[in-house]
Amino acid sequence: MKKSVTILVLVLGLAIIASLHLGLNVYAPAAVLSALGGADGTDAIIITSLRIPRTLVAICAGAALGLSGFLVQASTRNPLAEPGLLGINAGAAFSVVLGITLSGSLGLAAIGGLALAGGLVTTALVFGIVTAAGRTAGPGTTLLAGVTLAAMLASLTQVLLLVDETALETMLFWLSGGFADRSFEVLALGLPSLVIGLVGALAIAGSLDVLRLDDDSAGALGVRVTGIRMGALALGALLAAGAVAMAGPVVFLGLVAPHLARRLAPRATSAGQIVVTVLTGASIAVLADIVARLIVLPGEAPIGAVLALVGVPILVSLLRRKAEAVL
């Protein structure tokens, strides 16, 4: 566990350094250092106003998505669960399209604000539906409500896009998700949910350890089973809303990061897993962002495509090794 944290911190550190140097323009360490020191000039401006924010956004969105995935998986005891099942991305997308349709083109900060609002409203709706369901309320019902709501919101989004073609173009860009051209305002939108999500997750980590058992056993050990499971989902939804505000709907990260974390620290307690997942999520996001900048120069590949290209083989190999370990 300590070893994997050290390695991950190292990987993340190197990725951050690489992220500041690499891109359409490749800078020498001296240029990066002088930019960090407050130097003027085009290069310094590119580094401080583009490279630094996008790196920070990648770190925060990656951490938030990884942690969100961990919480959703822990709550449902389903390793295939991921934040998208809560309907947050669909809600954010609908909100953004609605905003663009009503007010014309928008900047990324405004879009981020709309996405955050949409994500939070969707969270409220999903948990509202579950509360209305009454006695049968539980994580299973929550995911069902999330998936159903996501399907409805996605079709409404489609309808809006058919009506308004200007929205279509901005949307296609935003929908693929990414960390490029994000400002510090976008970062500020997502940061509170990351902080609340992280503190909340650590606060319930002890209960999450016990929730690896079946409900009856966990209940007999003194855990408020339904409360903690629903709380974990709510924190997961909040984190996903923060992530979508920062980076748009980034797929796959929420599924892969917790799996990789489990692989790296199989015996860690939930508190340890939370730390490791935050690090794997952030590292994968920063690394994927660097790849996205480099593989189709002078253009940029959509981050979703990169994550799928890199993430699918990782996930398949993890699942394969896990199957072997069990046999």
């Binding site: 690896r212 058992l213 079946d214 009856d216 209940g219 007999a220 003194g222 370990a325």
Partner: protein, 268 residues
């Protein structure tokens, strides 16, 4: 007379509208081994789950150690009553030691890690169940008997005066079953813990229980000291099967021998 471990009054419990317990009144003595016996679906496990607040009754009142069940906070209750459920489940990669540590959940405060008293309780639980040498092994690689002992160790690590065990001898061969029940007896006799367990094997109940509750179709048919409950008449009445109690030389308790007649089986 010690206070009752549990007192149920007019308790009715349902699963999706199906009645599992029907207006049950029950007093369980403290400091004893009590066995819940009865046919499948007669309400034994439900009674246990209701007592441990894992299932909310639709009617009636439950008291644990003289205090209404709804009065206890989750952690308080977990420090008083431990329960091993019928089919406990945990990830196969979890080690015995990590499983047993989870038993300390209710004793933890705030963000503090494992304290020396937690470690001592876990070590003792592993020792009592003779699992210390397997502490590092993932539970997915234990035999059935070892796995059951690992779960019991977790329950013991909870350090509660009362322990509920739902079919602890399930899936165990006869020698492992005896091992588990000998352990139960030790926990009761030398540590003074009260134990309530669901048992299917009437011979085991006859041998190990001080007190037996015989359930039948969601109601308590008979309850009381073992020998007064497990009689030929009561067993025949509840299970619908002829049986004889046969004294065996050198044994303290008679053997329960069912004598199925074609007629009785057809009648059911």
């Amino acid at each position: 007379m010690a206070e009752a471990l549990a007192r149920l009054r007019g308790v009715t419990a349902r699963y999706d509208g199906v009645t599992a317990l029907d207006l049950v009144d029950l007093d369980l003595p403290d400091g004893r081994i009590t066995a819940f016996c009865g046919p499948n679906g007669s309400g034994k496990s439900t009674a246990l789950r209701v007592m441990r607040r894992l299932h909310a009754p639709s009617n009636g009142t439950v008291e644990i150690a003289g205090r209404p069940l709804h009065d206890w906070s989750p952690k308080e209750l977990a420090k008083s009553v431990a329960m091993l459920s019928q089919s406990p489940d945990a990830p196969p990669e979890l080690t015995v030691q990590d499983l047993v540590r989870l038993g300390r959940f209710a004793h933890k405060r705030g963000f503090r890690g494992q304290q020396s008293e937690d470690r001592a309780a876990c070590d003792r639980a592993l020792e009592v169940t003779e699992m210390a040498h397997l502490a590092e092994r993932p539970i997915g690689r234990l035999s059935g008997g070892q796995l059951q002992r690992a779960w019991i160790a977790m329950t013991i690590a909870q350090e509660t005066p009362h322990i509920l065990l739902d079919e602890p001898t399930n899936h165990l061969d006869v020698s492992h079953a005896f091992e588990v029940l000998e352990l139960v007896k030790r926990l009761n006799r030398t540590e003074g813990r009260s134990i309530v367990l669901v048992l299917h094997d009437l011979n085991m109940a006859m041998r190990y229980a001080d007190h037996v509750v015989l359930f039948d179709q969601g109601r308590v048919a008979v309850a009381g000291p073992t020998r007064s409950v497990l009689t030929e008449d009561h067993i025949t009445e509840v299970f619908g099967i002829e049986c004889r109690l046969i004294e065996i030389e050198g044994q303290d308790v008679p053997a329960v021998v069912p004598l199925p007649s074609e007629q009785a089986i057809l009648a059911r």
